[in-house]
Assembly symmetry: C2
Homo-oligomer: 111 residues x 2
């Protein structure tokens, strides 16, 4: 490892990360939603081991950013809350993944 | 994409992420430190485009977690603050990278 990095190094990959997407629980939410057309609130809560309150707060942040939609409905007589990723949500999630790949590339190449 | 993911899916990779390491600025700090034996505070601040106050707060979190050391000294007559990653810091950072690789693997394989 060099003693001191060159001061004119390009912007670090982590600078391109968006906190709205990068935050651990929200990253998990977007990742699960990216795998499925729609996901039910309870499943999402269990898959990510979040409390209902915590998941609701993160979904609100993502919904306000236009990255997910949250729809309430019924499945038979059972109330259901369905969560979907939006197109901008997919774009933001894949951008995060691309930045993380760049970070990992640098780490694997020894920085 | 399947309609609803299987409820007995294994723990999601994001669940293994450690907020102390995963937080965007701290991840950048550990990544830069991982590339170099030691890094001077001002360079770290510029490389990650952080304010001095912000960087100090994040370094305090990392130092309290035993992931970095912060040493004040002089280079000639100039006061210097040197930041180094510790062994546990390297371990935690590489664990984060491994979990991110698993997340990316799932995304690339379509989840």
């Amino acid at each position: 490892m060099s003693d001191t990095p060159t001061p004119d190094a390009p912007a670090h990959p982590t600078q391109a990360l968006d906190d709205t997407v990068h935050q651990r629980a929200r990253l998990g939410i977007l990742a699960v939603l990216h795998e499925s057309a729609k996901v039910e609130f309870t499943f999402l809560r269990q898959a990510l081991d979040l409390t209902a309150g915590n998941l609701s707060r993160h979904l609100q942040v993502l919904e306000e950013a236009g990255l997910v939609t949250v729809d309430k409905g019924y499945e038979g007589r059972r109330a259901r809350t369905w969560v979907r990723i939006t197109k901008p949500g997919c774009t933001a999630f894949l951008a995060e993944i691309a930045h993380l790949k760049e970070l990992i590339r640098r780490v694997d190449e020894g920085g």
